[in-house]
């Protein structure tokens, strides 16, 4: 069954804005971000330091602490109404809300509703989560702890059985139930954290750089595990990373963030073959390749901006090879590239019908970046 046939909306983020109150002013960490996620879809969010991707994830999960706060927007979640399995506890507070409407705004949930919501519907795997395992509890106890917190009043054999099931799902043998985290390798600890995230069969998992601290071989294993689990349980996944090449293989859709803005959104195939935004193109071509001809490559000149001093207009304009003066004045809006494909969106003035007949083709962007390489080679 393809994604299109199963296309039920799961998450609808509209104009989400998150600010940090710093001593000398407000920093806009996330600016008017909007995207949609369907059931079973894997969305990859890529960006460099300061782009706001982690803040976005925490904002959606309502995990922000002061001085960070949500300054606007809504995050609509469409839960399944027909859940019957034993791992779902029908929290009455949530059910009442659902009787009247199809969706709930995560940002407006009360603390009680939030507690019912978390881990049942949405779970999160943090950056270097494998170091977040409690060193004085066995991993079995940690899984059971989570189960007990969300599904109270069940017998211990229920919890134990579920813990063994979960470890089996992630490829850890049952005898490891009584191991402490320091007795496990990095890869196994990461699998444990993923198992904990799956404990209650959530429909949405957010993973923030889950493989950054792992070696490349283990990383490949973990990515394959994540991919197969999402397929098996039809779980949607928001995968956040700075490594765009991982997302090309793993995710269905990719969103690129720069300095708090979502600058491009496309399927991974489109992103790989036809990146629309000059930044996306630059980012894709900033990775040395394993095969193909060996030529001197040029990254993107300059560096990602400090969020306290974001350039006016399009934040990318000081580094953009194709910038023109509107870019310095007006912030581009995320809009579809063409009328047919509403999935593919770019925030770039080059696609604005007021400025050009049609947006640049990938070859044209490539040509412009080529002038950079030539300039660099002559040096």
């Amino acid at each position: 069954m393809s994604i299109q046939e199963q296309a039920q909306k799961l998450l609808d983020v509209t104009d989400l804005t998150i600010d940090y109150e710093a001593a000398n002013g407000t920093v806009h960490a996330v600016k008017n971000v909007s995207f949609t996620l369907h059931r079973g879809e894997i969305l990859g969010i890529a960006g460099e330091s300061g782009c706001g991707k982690s803040t976005l994830a925490y904002g959606i999960a309502r995990l922000l602490r002061p001085p960070a706060q949500v300054a606007g927007g809504q995050v609509l979640y469409y839960p399944r109404k027909d859940r019957q399995d034993a791992y779902y506890s029908a929290a009455s507070s949530l059910q009442d809300v659902l009787q009247e409407q199809d969706s709930i705004d995560i940002l407006q949930l009360s603390s009680e509703q939030l507690r019912a919501f978390r881990w049942h519907e949405l779970s999160i795997v943090f950056q270097s989560a494998m170091n977040a395992l409690n060193p004085v509890m066995t991993i079995g106890m940690q899984i059971i702890d989570v189960l007990q917190a969300h599904l109270p009043d069940k017998p211990m054999r229920f919890y134990k059985r579920r813990a063994i099931e979960l470890l089996d799902l992630v490829g850890i043998t049952a005898d490891r139930l009584n191991s402490y985290p320091h007795q496990l390798s990095g890869g196994m600890r990461q699998r444990t954290v993923i198992a904990i995230a799956l404990a209650l069969r959530p429909d949405l998992i957010i993973m923030d750089e889950p493989t950054t601290a792992l070696d490349v071989v283990i990383q490949r294993e973990i990515l394959e595990l994540i991919s197969s689990l999402c397929k098996e349980f039809n779980t949607a996944l928001i995968f956040i990373t700075h490594d765009l090449s991982l997302l090309l293989e793993l995710s269905h859709k990719i969103a690129i963030m720069y300095a708090g803005n979502l600058v491009e959104q496309a399927t991974s195939r489109e992103m790989y073959h036809h990146p629309g935004h000059p930044y996306s193109y630059g980012l894709l071509n900033a990775f040395p390749t394993l095969d193909g001809p060996q030529l001197q490559m040029v990254g993107i000149p300059g560096a990602p901006p400090d969020l306290r001093q974001v350039p006016p207009g399009c934040a990318f304009n000081p580094r953009c090879i194709m910038a023109f003066d509107a870019c310095r004045r007006v912030v581009p809006q995320l809009r579809p590239v063409s009328a047919e494909t509403s999935e593919r969106k770019v925030a770039c003035h080059l696609y604005d019908p007021r400025f050009s007949v049609r947006g640049p083709t990938t070859e044209q962007i490539a040509y412009c970046y080529e002038t950079l390489s030539e300039g660099a080679r002559v040096e």
């Binding site: 002061p66 000081p318 640049p360 412009c368 950079l372």
Partner: protein, 343 residues
């Protein structure tokens, strides 16, 4: 910002025509744009005020904190008393007079002792003695702590074993009884007290500095210094110690407090030189003269208050040092003030 070579388009154009197509223009201008972008890192204007990190932090954090200012005023006040106090009073602190055991009066601002000595003079002269003793002890103990802590932390191996062993022994031995024992056997006087204080106060700072040095030693700038060829003493003094200034300052202030209190206690027990007026000896004589039972509050309250207020002032200064070293405490204070925060 340096001049950006960018072509301009009328941005109120409603329809793009062939002649002002942005994409075409971008392609044409690309080589020039490339030159601009490749010309080097563009330094944002706001950053070019290169301010000294230390001074800016110091003045904005330290001097603007009300507690720290209070502490500075208090300690400053006592230093002034120590420097100029004796000029305010025209009386020799040890001079006996016929006004014995009088309450405070215009002639004797803080009253007199049983033997007619002017208490205000004793406090004023005593400030000098007490402050000097505590200062000497604190400086000496901090120096020893710095040398021991940094050496133990940096060199490791047997140097660390020996120094840690010494630190542990001195920490385990109860300080006050040890001080009393030593002072009672040696020649009584300020010098002995200073030496005793040195002996018993250095381990605390040394332990903390050793831990901090161990942690800084792992940082790559220390490894870089070694690879460049810096000798160990250069690495310690130039690279590691400047990062620990806040800790050293804080340790100095704490030792100052500890030294003041211990010196006063030792003198109170009669282990100081009874002929030299200092705050502790004032209290000692007050006790010997049973001032409490005779309701002679002026004999012990002023001296006690001086000690207490001085130590409080020093502790306030320490709070400020903590805030410099740990920026998180600063923002906590600000947040408490602002009362904002929505998750």
């Amino acid at each position: 910002m340096r001049q950006d070579v960018q072509f301009s388009l009328p941005d109120d154009a409603s329809e793009a025509s062939g002649s002002i197509d942005a994409v075409q223009q971008a392609i044409q201008h690309a080589p020039q744009r490339a030159q601009v972008l490749l010309a080097g890192e563009i330094v944002p204007a706001a950053e070019s005020q290169a301010q000294d990190l230390q001074w800016r932090r110091f003045s904005s954090v330290f001097l603007s904190n009300p507690r720290v200012l209070t502490g500075l005023y208090i300690v400053g006040f006592f230093i002034l008393i120590g420097l100029f106090g004796p000029f305010l009073t025209h009386q020799d602190p040890n001079a006996l007079s016929s006004d014995m055991f009088r309450a405070p009066s215009p002639a004797h601002w803080l009253g007199t002792t049983q033997r007619g000595e002017d208490i205000f003079s004793q406090i004023a002269y005593g400030a000098r003695v007490s402050l000097l003793m505590s200062f000497a002890a604190a400086i000496g103990a901090t120096l020893i702590a710095v040398v021991a802590g940094l050496a133990a932390g940096y060199f490791g191996g047997w140097i660390d074993e020996v120094i840690s062993f010494l630190i542990n022994i001195f920490l385990v031995l109860p300080g006050m009884p040890l001080a009393i024992v030593i002072a009672s056997f040696a020649v009584k006087g300020p010098v002995t007290i200073v030496l005793v204080l040195l002996f018993t106060s250095w381990p605390w700072g040394a332990r903390v500095l050793r831990a901090q040095t161990l942690s800084i030693r792992q940082r790559e700038f220390v490894t870089s210094a070694r690879v460049i060829g810096e000798r160990p003493w250069q690495v310690i003094l130039v690279e590691i110690l400047p990062n620990e200034i806040a800790l050293v300052a804080s340790s100095f202030v704490s030792t100052f407090v500890h030294a003041t209190l211990t010196a006063v206690a030792l003198e109170f027990l009669g282990l100081g030189d009874m002929m030299v007026a200092s705050w502790g000896t004032v209290l000692h004589w007050a006790q010997v003269d049973s001032a409490l039972m005779a309701n002679g509050w002026w004999q012990f309250v002023p001296a006690g208050l001086c000690v207490a207020i001085l130590c409080a002032g020093l502790t306030f200064i320490n709070f400020g040092i903590d805030e410099i070293a740990n920026p998180a405490l600063r923002s906590e204070r600000k947040l408490r003030k602002s009362k904002k925060g929505i998750a």
